[in-house]
Amino acid sequence: MRPTIPLVLALAARAHAEPRPSTAAEAIDPVLAMYIAEAEAHADAHPETILVDGDASPVDTPSAGVRVVDERELQLTPHKNGDDLLRVVPGLYTSQHGSEGKGQQFFLRGFDAVHGADLSIRVGGIPLNELSNVHGQGYADLGFVVPEAAGGLVARKGPFDLEQGWFATAGSIDMELGTTARGSRVGYELGSTRRHRLVAVEAPVGGPTAELVAAEVMRDEGYGASRGTEKASVIAQTELTAGRVKLRPLLVGYASTFGEPGVIALQDIARGTFDRDSAPAGELEGQSQRMLAGLGASWKHGADEVIASTHLGWRRLALDENFTGFLVNEVEGDARRQQHRAITGGGRVAWRHRVAPWLRVLAGGELMRDELVQSEDRISTLGEVWRNERALAATTTSLGAWVGAEAKRGHWVAVAGVRADGMYVAATDRLDLMRSGAGTVGAVSPRASVAWRTPEASISLSAGRGVRPPEARAFTQRASREGTAATVYDGGDPEITMANAVEVGGERRWGRVAAGVTGFATWIDHESVFDHLSGVNALQDGSRRLGVEAFVELSPLPWLAVRGDVTAVDARFVVTDNPVPGAPRLLATGEVRVDRKPWSAGLAGRFLGPRPLIHGASAAASHVLDAVGTWTRGRWTLTAQIDNLLATDWNEGEYNFASQWDPSMPRSELPRVHISPGRPFGVRAGAAIQF
């Protein structure tokens, strides 16, 4: 059974408090003491825990939609790469419409978060969402994450935590890097898709969990045509202690090349033009590269603690894609080339000051500077550029600050405060300098959570606002109105999209069994969507999302953990009452973990109900079961992973739009359903040796 949030926080507090004599200011309140007792009672069941925000006492925002997953649970989750580790987040559906190496499409709580527009993701404390990425606002690429280096994650659904910044409209995920498996390891993995993966991990014995170097080199031909991937990634992180200060330097290097097969129209499959393994787009491909340096720091003295981090990164993404064939241009085809380069730097400071045993004041700020150059061109079937559609250089200076308080008294916990986010954007349109422009946007987000908790039960109520920034292109000047009728919409100013959310949840624990249910609602008054073709900021009507989540987890034996959860959401636009396209209405997952040395195994199943697509089409329901098993003896560990154990034909992604791949068919602009096939049955076997 995974530790519940209060349990983990208690462990974190205890881990920090133990080495030093406690003072009155650091005294553990009775509720915390109960959680510690609970933690000790289950110490064997979850020997590892992760410390939110490093070593200092985390802010205990008591919202219900939070799940903490430790390193061991991640390792026993069937996974092929770092992206797959996010499957442990209840209600999160990820979809790949390229191939391994391209950023995932995320769906959470009724949001189609595209590539990260509504889901804030941090790894090692560093924000991954890319402001104004040419491929999509908030693009979050987890390709560099070596799974063996993932030390755990915290998923916070909803925008209720004061430290959640841009893109946390649906929620946020913080993945920690580190490992408790100390020593040197080298492993090799061979997969049925001609996958070859070499991984090495150096985690000095006796060193802190966060200290490791992990590197992987991988080549995979993938399933079907044009789904191959080649990548190399290295992550190096250590932890230094100097007096009361702990420093955590991090270095990341990553490069990958991956196929861009396109998506397949069901009508073309039925007609025999393509099959599920086809790559309509041919041999197009993408490239993703990243260099990243980060430094985390924590300091605690008396009633004060400070958590800080800074980061500097270089990023490149290049995508050649074609999803519509020859619909728009019958001769050259509709392929496009997107290129994006950015240098991003930033820092963050969170200060927590205990003014009374039951009360802490919280304050913090973060600053980020992003300099990007991006372009989008139309390319021919030979890969030659035949039209420039977009060329932009932009700098974004983003600032966020929050202030609030955390109170714990008796069985009550409350965290409340307000957050302000703003950004200044200067955008240079390199195709038309006269259209270059600049602007500032800002938003204030009140957030509050209150909970009544005992070791056996908890009830919480949360409310808050999440924010999604406009992209840099939206700050370019509007085109001339000459020759345009006065009634034609000229676009609005770039705006921050604000999502107001509430959540109420309860959890009950009976020994080794726990169950909980959470209801949530989110309202967006209107969305500012930059339309790349017309060059205007179009206002999209408001939307609302109503949903419920429930989970059950049990640990009937010390080495056996079972969990199931289900999320049902009704997401609609308020004016038309149309459903939000693509957003899952029903998503259920089940996990079984066996951890009895020398054997361990994990089984993960998912049922995705039918999803509404745009214009009244619908995506199929699907169910997938994946498995992982390991056997360890001495220095050796053997691992087997099975994708799609039941060998079902399932569609990872489904979309409804027009395309024209078959020139013999009459040209039509009517939308039709396209699919991105899910992983077929596949096996990966690996061996690792520990030095």
Partner: protein, 255 residues
């Protein structure tokens, strides 16, 4: 019943399903075009109007805010749909959800016209129509002497002012790839819809009252055989062309 259906939708092992469509006949309105008054005081009556078009499309507004209508945005971009290159998860799908592909000659002369064809429309709430303008060819079944051949518009009618009435004819060309985007088409289409869709020419803007003939001083134009002529190459041709190719002059109605 609805609850039961919702439950089945939620938990049923449904398969992928294309959007529901319906096929509806399309024609041009049979009624005679009413006379209109121009800003210069002329009364213009079009007795016969023909336009060479292709690819009639029907669009929904989608989730765009009122006043940000998709058709307006499309017109701003000069494209027939607001998203040129659909991409999974990125506003997937243009707003075109109905179409009648092919080349057609639209005609309004006060008499019923043969159906242009059968359009396929996805069920939905429609707000606009688009079509492309083109030059008429022999493939349209025109005689070699037909004045529309090689041109896009052919208008015949009368123009009167101060008790004087004269016939006029106009032949107009358009620039390549000219499209009419956002003609009014307000209709809720369902799987069981059976109406006929009729394309209308609006000789006067129903909201603002202006006409495509505004600013044209007819009685100063050259005549041939007693008939005022507006032909390609003249300033008047360009004025009339610019006005008559806007979406304000067209509508599609259900009959």
């Amino acid at each position: 019943m609805r609850t039961a259906c919702m439950f089945l939708v939620l938990v049923g092992c449904g398969t992928s399903r294309e959007a529901a469509t319906v096929e509806l006949p399309v024609t041009t309105a049979a009624s005679a075009l009413p006379p209109v008054a121009t800003d210069l005081g002329y009364e213009v009556t079009v007795t016969d109007l023909r336009i060479a078009i292709s690819a009639l499309q029907f669009t929904i507004e989608g989730e765009m805010h009122a006043g940000t209508a998709a058709n307006d945005i499309a017109q701003r971009s000069g494209a027939t749909s607001i998203i040129a290159l659909p991409h999974p998860g990125h506003s997937a799908g243009g707003e075109v959800t109905g179409e009648l592909p092919g080349d057609f000659i639209l005609r309004w002369n006060g008499r019923p016209q043969p159906a242009l064809g059968t359009a396929t429309l996805v069920a939905g709430d429609y707000h606009g129509a688009n079509f492309a303008l083109r030059a008429a060819t022999g493939a349209d079944g025109l005689d070699a002497a037909d004045p529309l051949l090689g041109h896009t518009f052919h208008l015949e009618g009368t123009v009167g002012k101060d008790g004087t009435t004269r016939p006029f004819v106009a032949v107009l060309d358009v620039e390549p790839d000219t499209t009419v985007i956002g003609a009014v088409f307000e209709d809720e289409i369902t799987e069981t819809s059976t109406e006929t869709l009729a394309v209308e020419f609006l000789a006067a803007d129903p909201f603002e009252g202006d006409t495509p003939f505004d600013t044209i001083d007819f009685f100063t134009l050259p005549e041939t055989a007693g008939r005022i002529e507006i032909l390609p190459g003249s300033t008047t041709h360009n004025i009339l062309r610019r006005a008559i190719q806007t979406h304000d002059q067209y509508a599609v109605v259900a009959q």
